[in-house]
């Protein structure tokens, strides 16, 4: 993956076969916030994006699995609209 901009925010979606899905989940969890069943998102630095991709590549089988990255420059340049309750709180736990 070649980056032409400094992306600092990412959405990651995946479709992974059952026997590998847990491995992928664990890797994503290190870098991003778990948002929905197979969606992660959050702030991430450009170098970490490359690291994450490298780690994922080792685990997945490219014949059957599919991971897609949606990258943003920052978290302010998209509009989010959602239904239902979201428990996320960035700063405080």
């Amino acid at each position: 993956m070649k980056l032409d901009k400094n992306y600092n925010y990412a959405f990651v979606f995946y479709d992974i076969q059952e026997k590998r899905v847990n491995k992928v989940f664990k890797i994503c969890k290190k870098y991003l916030e778990h948002h929905q069943k197979s969606v992660f998102r959050g702030k991430i630095s450009p170098s970490q994006i490359l690291k994450l991709e490298k780690e994922l590549k080792k685990v997945i089988d490219e014949k059957y699995d599919y991971v897609s990255f949606v990258l943003m420059v920052n978290e302010y340049n998209f509009f989010e609209h959602s239904l239902g309750e979201c428990k996320e709180d960035e700063l405080f736990i």
Partner: protein, 333 residues
């Protein structure tokens, strides 16, 4: 807001899970991505085990602990990542030979930054501030040049702060009046805010200086025998007016923090309650993450980074002999 700092405000257990972090309590659990986190604040009872500490150390994450009353109790400071004997020796040498130079520079920096903060109120019609502004602008510099021992410098520092506190009745609402600065424990809302703000700033400086080669035990203005990271106390001094007091004034004057809502008052002490603390931290973070145009670097810099740059400046002074000018709100250096 920077996601590299996490605040844990509820009771629970922080532990390691699959090379990442998890925070559990009776309400449920939450994963914290380890990559990107640099500092964790524990503002409530948090259980931790040594397995976690080892893992945090490996990822160079600093953890600050505060006790139930919101007092700073200590820092988990992982094995130093940046050690330089050269810088440590230079620090000691400077302390022995020319401690006053740095101490004076810091006190001067405090004066300038207080002047800047107060000038804002002077401009908005509080003309009573005029005598103090004149004193800060003209006289402190002259007095400072004449001083030749550290006690006198500390005395001048004390009187700058004292005169600063005396201006509070001019521009702050009446219920936030206070007679004098009281610590351990603070006895009224204003003192509580100042104490909490100062210890938050102190931890921020520790986290930033961790990224430099400086030894945090060797200080110039404060005595380096206080078994604390006294260099962080030195560096935080000039940032107090800019970050702590500006945040407090904003919160108090805009009624975001109120005496009857956000404080717990008991027999002889007064503390911020949980909600008050949250409001304070949120605004404090916002101010630290706000940026200004740095006049030397010619680019935008956050106040948080400015703290780190302060460390670099000190190293430059120690190793290369460049003049040490502390952070200056007016010139944005």
């Amino acid at each position: 807001m920077s996601s590299s700092t996490r605040y844990i405000t509820s009771m629970g257990e922080l532990s390691r899970k699959d090379n990442s972090l998890i925070f559990r309590n009776d309400k449920g659990h939450k994963y914290i991505p380890i990559e990107g986190v640099k500092v964790i604040y524990c503002l409530n009872e948090v259980s931790i085990n040594s397995k976690l500490l080892d893992f945090l150390a490996r990822n160079k994450i600093i953890v600050h602990f505060f006790n139930y009353y919101g007092y700073y109790s200590g820092t988990f400071y992982p094995k130093e990542a940046y050690i330089s004997g050269k810088v440590t020796i230079a620090q000691v040498k400077k302390f022995e030979e020319n401690r006053l130079e740095i101490a004076k520079a810091i006190v001067k920096g405090i004066g300038i930054n207080i002047y800047e903060v107060l000038y804002h109120y002077y401009k908005h019609g509080y003309k009573e501030l005029k005598p103090l502004l004149n004193w800060l602008n003209k006289e402190t510099g002259i007095i400072l040049n004449k001083l030749d021992n550290i006690k006198q410098v500390l005395y001048l520092e004390g009187s700058i702060w004292k005169r600063f506190y005396e201006t509070f009745p001019i521009y702050l609402p009446e219920d936030f009046m206070f007679n004098k600065r009281v610590k351990r424990p603070p006895d009224n809302p204003m003192n509580a805010l100042i104490s909490f703000g100062n210890s938050m700033l102190y931890t921020k400086v520790i986290s930033q200086l961790y990224k430099t080669h400086l030894n945090q035990g060797i200080s110039y203005l404060h005595e380096p025998f206080e078994s604390r990271f006294s260099l962080s106390l030195d560096i935080s001094e000039v940032f107090k007016p800019v970050i702590v007091y500006k945040t407090i004034f904003e919160l108090v004057n805009n009624k975001k923090i109120q005496v009857n809502k956000h404080f717990e008052k008991q027999l002889n002490y007064c503390l911020l309650n949980e909600n008050g603390r949250k409001i304070f931290i949120e605004n404090f973070e916002k101010r630290l993450e706000s940026s200004f145009e740095h006049s030397k670097l010619k680019r935008k810099v956050t106040y948080n980074t400015a703290i780190k740059l302060e460390g670099y400046k000190l190293i430059k002074n120690l190793v290369e002999g460049e003049k040490f000018i502390p952070f200056n709100l007016k010139e944005k250096i």
